[in-house]
Symmetry: C2
Subunit: 336 residues, 2 copies
Amino acid sequence: MTSALAALAPEPGSVDLLIDLAAKDMAGVDVLIVQRMQSPVAVIPALADHLIAAGGKRLRPLLTVAADRLAGGHGDNCLKLAAAVEFIHTATLLHDDVVDGSQLRRGKVAAHLIWGGAQSVLVGDFLFARAFELMVDTHSIQALDILARASRLIAEGEVLQLTRAHDLNLGQDVYLEIIAAKTAELFAAAAEAGAVSAGASDEARNALRNFGLNLGLAFQLADDALDYGGETAALGKNAGDDFREGKSTLPLLLAIARTGTAETAFWQRTVGNLDQTDADFLRARDLIVSTGAIDATLDLAAVYAATAKQALSIFPANNWRKALESLADFSVTRRT
Amino acid sequence: MTSALAALAPEPGSVDLLIDLAAKDMAGVDVLIVQRMQSPVAVIPALADHLIAAGGKRLRPLLTVAADRLAGGHGDNCLKLAAAVEFIHTATLLHDDVVDGSQLRRGKVAAHLIWGGAQSVLVGDFLFARAFELMVDTHSIQALDILARASRLIAEGEVLQLTRAHDLNLGQDVYLEIIAAKTAELFAAAAEAGAVSAGASDEARNALRNFGLNLGLAFQLADDALDYGGETAALGKNAGDDFREGKSTLPLLLAIARTGTAETAFWQRTVGNLDQTDADFLRARDLIVSTGAIDATLDLAAVYAATAKQALSIFPANNWRKALESLADFSVTRRT
């Protein structure tokens, strides 16, 4: 498995270049995040902090900051938009974990298992509203437009995914439509909002949006591969969650196609009917690895990562651009 | 019970004056609502339509339209803001029904019982995002500010209410804080957004906000009284839901205080521990009516309704003002 994951993408890539370059800006984003998750209703900051303090890589707000800086921005509005993007992301995580019944998130027990699903739904709503309050503070109708649309597309993608779960014959086109909406649109919007806060040209704005969109597709494809090929401890969430929920992700769809009629009964029982034992996940993982479905998924991720890097070619080859290019490589080669 | 409800508020009031006056504008709002709840993901319009087509009184969007017209507005932006307000309201209903496990809404089976809680949460998110897209279309940062803040306060109010459920000793001040946040803030914001779309003066804007806030308080107090005094068929939701969920509403809190130690064990078992039979609701209702808790709740509602009407005194006594005054009376005297 590990070798399957390691075999691809020529450059290992890293998020560290970007983290170093954006350190001061991200410190400002963190201050905003902590400030704006406060509430006189004590359970709100407690629940939000459980998830937000657990960290994660803060990829989406990093994208907003980096897009602003690469497009020549020097102001602070991108910090507010970055915090808004992280709030939207956190709100969707809270709602998704309730929807999926997930047990683990960012290496911690999922919030709904501590505070209950009701509070998770409502604190998600709180963070979503706070995100829009932060955007309003920037007085940018364009940024509001971009992130409202992305928020709507995320919800559409999540509903579509839920509707098409357990579908053994889901087309690759529908799978890509789902991950574009539920994941890549927020990456695209995060970068586009950064471009807008910098007052970028339409060309630069479109380039950064395309970078984010393709990066998001690569990121989600790798995520779906890691769910069969990664280790729970490194992921901060349970490997195998997608299988247990019967999510029709690309590694699974490819393995179903490639194992043919020999395994139809197995896939129908475990994914179609969600009638599973723990041993079934191990067998599914073996089939997915042995049919090359993980490699094929990561190959496709590498194509999107390359497209993302290509989108940056209109910018000077400065440190911000190099850091984003390294992030694109990392999106495919990461283990977590 | 019915006589207790009928005894108050000198004017019966009606929403019909406002419905007639705003008929053409509200037809425009309905067109927007139907347009903007569409999605290529078929379950979204199906679920949204289940709730939205069921109607309800559309009080909040009516407020936005009426506030705009009373403040001298003639444009169409208030229609978009009104549709946004209805979407925010519908989103909160979808989430609340999941949170509360409610069975009935607007006379129909609650959406989460048909499509599942997950889809209700996600379609709520969709409608919330669509609300912000509609606001963005008006290019009004002020309206976005008002409605983002209201959305955040609603979530805070809902969390606070959930945190303080089953609390037999909840203070009346905290109860009022909860209903101000979870209900009255959206009435206030709906009216204020209408004022803003009309380009109203600060004085007119504040007056309309105060009208909405006090109307919302009256409306929720009457709602909480109806939950013990109303009929399920007329309400479109189950009478007794608050009792079954252990919600600490004013009629209950007053009855607990007024029945004293004689009923401590009853209230502790049924509300504190949620250990109930159907007969317990009937007994609770009898205690609430016989102690005058319904009358006292409606008396307080009448005070807020009067304050709401007073806030309109700066406006000319035209048909819009008269219709809003009648709505204020109706908020207390209504049976549904």
